[in-house]
């Protein structure tokens, strides 16, 4: 791949992301971190593409482990983000101070 195209793409994506995330609620940046974690779960795509193209046995072992761990990370990230959104729902509807302390097992 042409390094110039790659550099342009990364620069544009960073600029787009920065300007897009600025719209978010400034008091609620924890959700931004959860979103970043969810997006980094997309590494499972890179790992899967490396796995389906692997030929030698060591490659197969390494890349299938990579797919395993990245799928686990992606699932955890999605579940955390989902609970954050759901608790936004509840927080709007309920009295402030009623905590959902029990619901911590992901």
């Amino acid at each position: 791949m042409d390094p110039v195209i790659a550099a342009y793409t990364v620069l544009l994506a960073v600029a787009l992301g920065l300007s897009g995330f600025l719209r978010g609620d400034a008091r609620r940046r924890g959700r931004g971190l959860l979103m970043a974690a969810t997006l980094s779960g997309f590494i499972v795509v890179a790992a899967a593409s490396a796995l389906v193209n692997a030929v030698a046995v060591p490659d197969l072992i390494l890349t299938s482990l990579a797919v395993f761990f990245s799928a686990q990370a992606a699932t955890t990230a999605f579940s955390l983000l989902w609970r954050e959104i759901c608790s936004t729902h509840q927080a709007r509807g309920s009295v402030p101070g009623s905590d959902r302390g029990e619901d911590t097992s992901a």
Binding site: R28, F69, S79, A106
Partner: protein, 285 residues
């Protein structure tokens, strides 16, 4: 790792879905009127984009490794709830429990992504033809190895601390200096292994050990209030590693995903920490 990711056509649609989802998740309009109906479909869109990319990766392959890939993905999905169960220490307040549960989950995410980045860097290192082994591929391999191992070690240490397997520590000044020295040494050795490929394998092992130590240092040497910040930094590093993997795999999709993650991490690191689940403000952190 050097093989092309021939799915950028599908990747554009997935990227459009992701951008729409981020737009929906960042919108404040719904929240102010007490109606967050736009947020749940946004997560659905993100999930659909991930599924679309996975299916298209599996679809365009020659099919020999597809069952293995599907089994590994399913195993990972099944293992996630088992591994991320969080037990709080007795006597802590519910708010604190929720916050530490989230941080524990986030450190699990950094462990998983760090490991897979390191493994992908390793396959790139071993897999490469010697004559096609140009300096940029070497650079990407070494830096993703370094980032992956560093992130894995930091996430593991943070997870152990948050789950009370390690004693709480407070940072000393010498510890920070030592961490900086190790970082400088690791960067120097990585540069050497890029410049002199003859000794690269030995240097890579040394760099991996240094990265492990660096991760342990950077995770142990922070006060507990700054744990979220360290996790944010490592998420940004993972984004950079994804962008580099995208460069090697010739995938514009992964390049732009890496850029988005870096942007999100930068945006997070500039601000204060507040999870809605924990319903805390920065005064009590």
């Amino acid at each position: 790792m050097s093989v092309g990711l021939q799915i950028d056509l599908v990747g554009w649609f997935a990227l459009a879905l992701i951008l729409a989802a981020l737009y929906g998740l960042n919108s404040e309009k719904g929240e102010q009127s007490g109606n967050t109906a736009r947020h749940k479909p946004a997560i659905g869109l993100l999930f659909a984009a991930l599924l679309l990319m996975l299916v298209s990766v599996l679809w365009t392959s020659d099919g020999s490794n597809v069952p293995l890939a599907i089994v590994m993905v399913l195993l990972g999905i099944v293992a996630a709830p088992l591994s991320s169960r969080y037990r709080a220490a007795r006597g802590s307040s519910p708010q604190r429990t929720v916050r530490e549960g989230i941080l524990s989950g986030l450190s699990l995410i950094t462990i998983g992504t760090g490991l897979s980045v390191a493994l992908l860097g390793l396959t790139g290192w071993f897999d490469m033809d010697r004559d096609a082994f140009t300096w940029d591929i070497r650079l990407v391999s070494v830096s993703s190895e370094f980032i992956g191992v560093w992130t894995f070690a930091a996430g593991l240490m943070l997870w152990l601390r948050l789950n009370d397997y390690l004693p709480q520590s407070s940072p000393g000044r010498n510890q920070k200096r030592f961490g900086l020295a190790v970082l400088a040494l690791a960067v120097l050795l990585s540069g050497l292994s890029v410049l002199f490929p003859a000794y690269a394998s030995v240097l890579m092992i040394v760099v991996a050990i240094l990265a492990l130590e660096l991760g342990a240092l950077s995770a142990l040497g922070v006060a507990e209030t700054r744990v979220a910040r360290v996790l944010g930094q490592h998420t940004g590093l993972i984004g950079a590693a994804i962008a580099m993997l995208g460069y090697v795999q010739a995938s514009l999709f992964l390049l732009s995903m890496g850029g988005l993650i870096v942007a999100a991490a930068i945006h997070y690191l500039r601000g204060a920490m507040a999870f809605n689940q924990a319903r805390r403000r920065r005064t009590d952190s």
